[in-house]
Amino acid sequence: MTTLTATRRRPKRPQRPRRAKGGARRVAALARAELRLLVRNRTAMFTALALPIAMVGLLRMSGTGDDAAAGVGATMTAMMIGFVLLFVVYYNLVSAYVGRREELVLKRLRVGEASDAEILTGTALPSLILALVQTVLMTLGVAMTIGFDSPVNLLLVFVALVGGSIVFVLLAAASTAFTKNVETAQVSTLPVLMVCMPLSGMMFPLSQWPDAVADVARFLPLTPVVDLVNLGLSGVSVDGSVVDFAASFEAAMMPVAVLVAWIGVGVWAQRRWFRWEPRG
């Protein structure tokens, strides 16, 4: 989803539309192959199917129906988006990038016509599509079990999904620098997973941490995604106040700024540390 937006936006240089068109075609060819590999990878497919089923099961057990407090549906959705970004996007892609690197596929692709960005995007696209499908399915699950109040600002949810996807694709690429092979990805991804899960507000509100911890947690990569989803769906802002559509933009400025900063960090880290072939 992110990718299509990116490629569609590219013909800002109208004198070279063919290059952009070729870019979309190259990304599609790479994504098609990567999708085949994803479908043939049993572990990845199991996670892909088990995660939403487990989620919906969890919701059924905790489903509070009509008694649901304001914003519970939004909180649940934010949690699921957090899980999807961490496991389906981040963890899957660390494995995929490292796997292709160790098989010399990335090196091979780099002697062809695809650009570096196209190679990384094509490899990421199937996981992103899978993440989107899961998000939609699980959101439907929440809608049917808990239900939503009418959303405050869906644009912010969209920004959270797109921005979060870009950040975690880039963090996955950067994490390959300290991941020796596909097996060690299980360990090398732990720091990001273990820091983001408790410190993003996805599992419980950051207000349950001491203020000093919560203040630092605001600047972690997953926190602004969770904040924006909550804000967009229920209007609950970072400081706990409930805002309307107009005020939600102002409340979104800080999380969006953090998200943009992480995209900058991710691009820099990818350029600085990403290796295209195994260490010799």
């Binding site: 290059r19 070729g22 075609r25 190259r26 599609a28 060819a29 790479l30 098609r32 192959a33 085949r36 590999l37 043939r40 990878n41 796997g99 292709r100 098989e103 010399l104 596929v105 990335l106 090196k107 091979r108 692709l109 780099r110 002697v111 062809g112 016509e113 695809a114 650009s115 196209e118 295209w276 010799g280």
Partner: protein, 312 residues
């Protein structure tokens, strides 16, 4: 017409300081096959990877079709085809899926079936890459390199791991491509491959080019050799002086290295006739590429005492 590939004083160092390529200069003309020949570790692949545009050189310049292959990647890649030393294919894709993926990234690919047919993999399209033999993987790699109808083809040890018949087939394919005007830069450690295919070649040793030219040029740097069984010293006079020749006389054979094969041989035969000496096991031959190649290695190694040469 400018040269298709121009390499000037190319250097490549790895992290840790090891310099794999130490100032290499050569050009490849349009339509010729240029071979980089050398032992393992001579710096052939390190050189080729820079020319392919995979990495920046630590010194010197590379131009491919007039462009910097790393910086102007988008301009160069649609016109080049690369066969890496080790193929990079996802092992869970089939041959056909791999080729289709690659074709999808190219501007003007040939049909996938045509490319697979060229390398003799027609009918293997449904086999997964992990089930292929080493030789079949090399041929799949070659098929991908040919998919984009390249003007310039880079082949890094293209026949390593192939059976003799597949090697011949590959050579035939490369010759067909040359006839159609493709320019080829090839690395190999097979001397017969270079002799068979190369218009010009460079012998690399420890990151440097130590010989360059046509096969004939390089062979001409080496002396020709005359050998015969050592005549019985009690019944025959001492060997004649042979100008420009080095005579090695051990207990069994006499070996004469000469830059003037015809003259040395004539004098030797006249001496034999005049003294009535029968030269058993006589042979005379021009130098070979192998001899030139081994001489390069020998002259750059510290001398080992076991090969002592005794002038006659």
């Amino acid at each position: 017409m400018p040269d298709v590939i121009e390499v000037t004083d190319l250097r490549r160092s790895y992290t840790g300081g090891f310099e794999a390529v130490s100032g290499v200069t050569f050009t490849v003309r349009r339509g010729e096959l240029f071979a980089l020949l050398g032992t393992n570790g001579a710096g052939k692949t390190s050189t080729l990877e820079v020319i392919e545009g995979l990495t920046v050189p630590s010194g010197g310049t590379v131009r491919v079709l007039g462009h910097d292959p790393y910086v102007d990647r988008a301009a160069v890649r649609p016109r080049t085809g690369v066969m890496l030393q080790a193929g990079g294919f996802p092992s869970d894709l089939t041959v056909g899926e791999t080729a289709a993926m690659w074709a999808g990234t190219l501007s003007a690919p040939r049909p996938v079936d045509e490319a697979l047919d060229m390398v003799g993999l027609a009918g293997r399209g449904d086999v997964t890459v992990k089930q292929l033999s080493g030789g079949e993987r090399r041929r799949l790699d070659l098929a991908l390199a040919l998919l984009g109808r390249p003007e310039v083809l880079f082949l890094d040890e293209p026949t390593t791991g192939l059976d003799p018949e597949s090697r011949r087939d590959t050579w035939r394919l490369v010759r067909d491509l040359l006839r159609d005007g493709t320019t080829v830069l090839l690395t190999t450690h097979y001397l017969d491959e270079a002799e068979e295919l190369a218009d010009r070649l460079a012998i690399m040793h420890r990151g440097r080019i130590v010989r360059t030219g046509t096969v004939a040029d390089i062979v001409a740097t080496q002396p020709s050799t005359i050998t015969f069984d050592r005549p019985d010293p009690t019944s025959s006079p001492p060997l004649p002086e042979l100008p420009g020749a080095l005579v090695v006389d051990d207990s069994q054979d006499v070996v004469i290295h000469t830059d003037m094969l015809q003259r040395s041989l004539t004098e030797l035969l006249e001496w034999a006739r005049d003294h009535g000496v029968e030269l058993h096991g006589l042979s005379a031959r021009s130098a070979s590429l192998e001899q030139a190649f081994l001489a390069v290695a020998a002259e750059h190694e510290p001398r080992t005492p076991q090969t002592e040469e005794v002038p006659a």
